[in-house]
């Protein structure tokens, strides 16, 4: 019982904190983000396992975490409002070639990052070639180029 409660508590806490920190935080992993990720992993490991190194504990914990993940993915399908809360909604950063400055500022994205995505995914050279750019819920930026 204790293992399931520990697992669920950490799962929901991490979900809350990652949602609250905004989409960019762990999306593009800079070396510092990577270190941060390792520290989070190390810290939660203690909270999750305590002093219990038994195999049963590990199995119950893993099943609890993965089960919660599967369960929540179903909840989000049945009840779209939960999806909007847990996964967020896509943000349009560039609409019809026009940059939404407020969207950029609020989601902590620079123009340069849109250009990076445009170069990497579409081979575009400058902003004027972008028709739409959308910050997706998975933290990636998708680019739709203008017709040439």
């Amino acid at each position: 019982m204790e293992t399931v409660i520990r697992g669920a508590a950490i799962y929901f806490f991490l979900m809350l904190i990652l949602r609250a920190s905004g989409r960019r935080t762990l999306a593009e992993i800079t070396p510092f983000d990577f270190v941060l990720l390792l520290i989070i992993a190390e810290t939660t490991q203690q909270a999750l396992l305590g002093e219990d190194y038994s195999i049963s504990n590990a199995i119950v914990l893993i099943v609890t975490l993965i089960g919660l993940d599967i369960f929540l993915s179903h909840v989000m399908r049945w009840w779209p409002a939960a999806g909007r809360l847990l996964e967020g909604v896509p943000t349009v950063l560039v609409r019809d070639g026009k940059i939404d400055r407020r969207a950029l500022e609020r989601s902590r994205i620079g123009e340069e990052e849109i250009l990076v995505a445009a170069r990497q995914r579409q081979g575009l050279e400058n902003l004027s070639q972008i028709k739409h750019a959308v910050l997706e819920t998975d933290s990636g930026i998708s680019i739709i180029p203008k017709e040439r």
């Binding site: 019982m1 049963s56 089960g67």
Partner: protein, 169 residues
């Protein structure tokens, strides 16, 4: 064959819908098994809290609460609630099989005397009367795993009581 079909439709992909359907069904069964495991864990079937994980036995006024299901290398406790009228020296004996299965990390309160005998370990406590049931807690840790084992404990001169327990790996 599946590949050929896919190619005929113009998309070159190794699809096998029939096999995919089988995998999807298997996944649903796996999810059900996972849900069952979580429910069992909540009930205490995997030890560490929950109604199934602990059990208690009575021995002439004293109540022994022991881990019915515990885990290897994981801290747990055995508590003995003495009868309210207990006073003077009270002895608790944990049988040989118990001592073989568990390492006793600490005892609260500290016993005034400890003895090893052919029957097991004997702990003596000084108990002062004065209302309420004195509680003695043994902090134990399973040192090997065992599927279904019966051990005994004895409080004072009462007959030994049996405790059957499972130690999960």
């Amino acid at each position: 064959m599946a590949e050929k079909q896919a190619q005929a439709r113009g998309l070159q992909v190794n699809e096998d819908r029939h096999w995919q359907e089988t995998l999807w069904t298997a996944q649903r069964f796996a999810w059900a098994a996972m849900a069952l495991l979580v429910v069992l864990a909540m009930l205490g079937a995997t030890g560490k809290g929950g109604p199934l994980a602990t059990a208690s036995v009575k021995s002439t006024g004293a109540t022994i609460e022991y881990p019915r299901i515990t885990r290897w290398q994981s801290a747990d406790q055995l508590s003995v609630r003495l009868p309210a009228n207990a006073s003077g020296e009270v002895q608790i004996e944990l049988s040989q099989p118990f001592v073989e299965l568990f390492s006793i990390e600490s005892v609260e309160p500290e016993p005034s005397r400890m003895e090893a005998s052919g029957q097991g370990h004997r702990f003596a406590f000084n108990v002062s009367g004065g209302g309420g049931q004195p509680l003695i807690v043994f902090h134990i840790k399973a040192s090997r795993f065992a599927f279904s084992r019966t051990v005994t404990a004895r409080v004072g001169e009462a007959a030994p009581v049996e405790m059957s327990l499972i130690i999960l790996p």
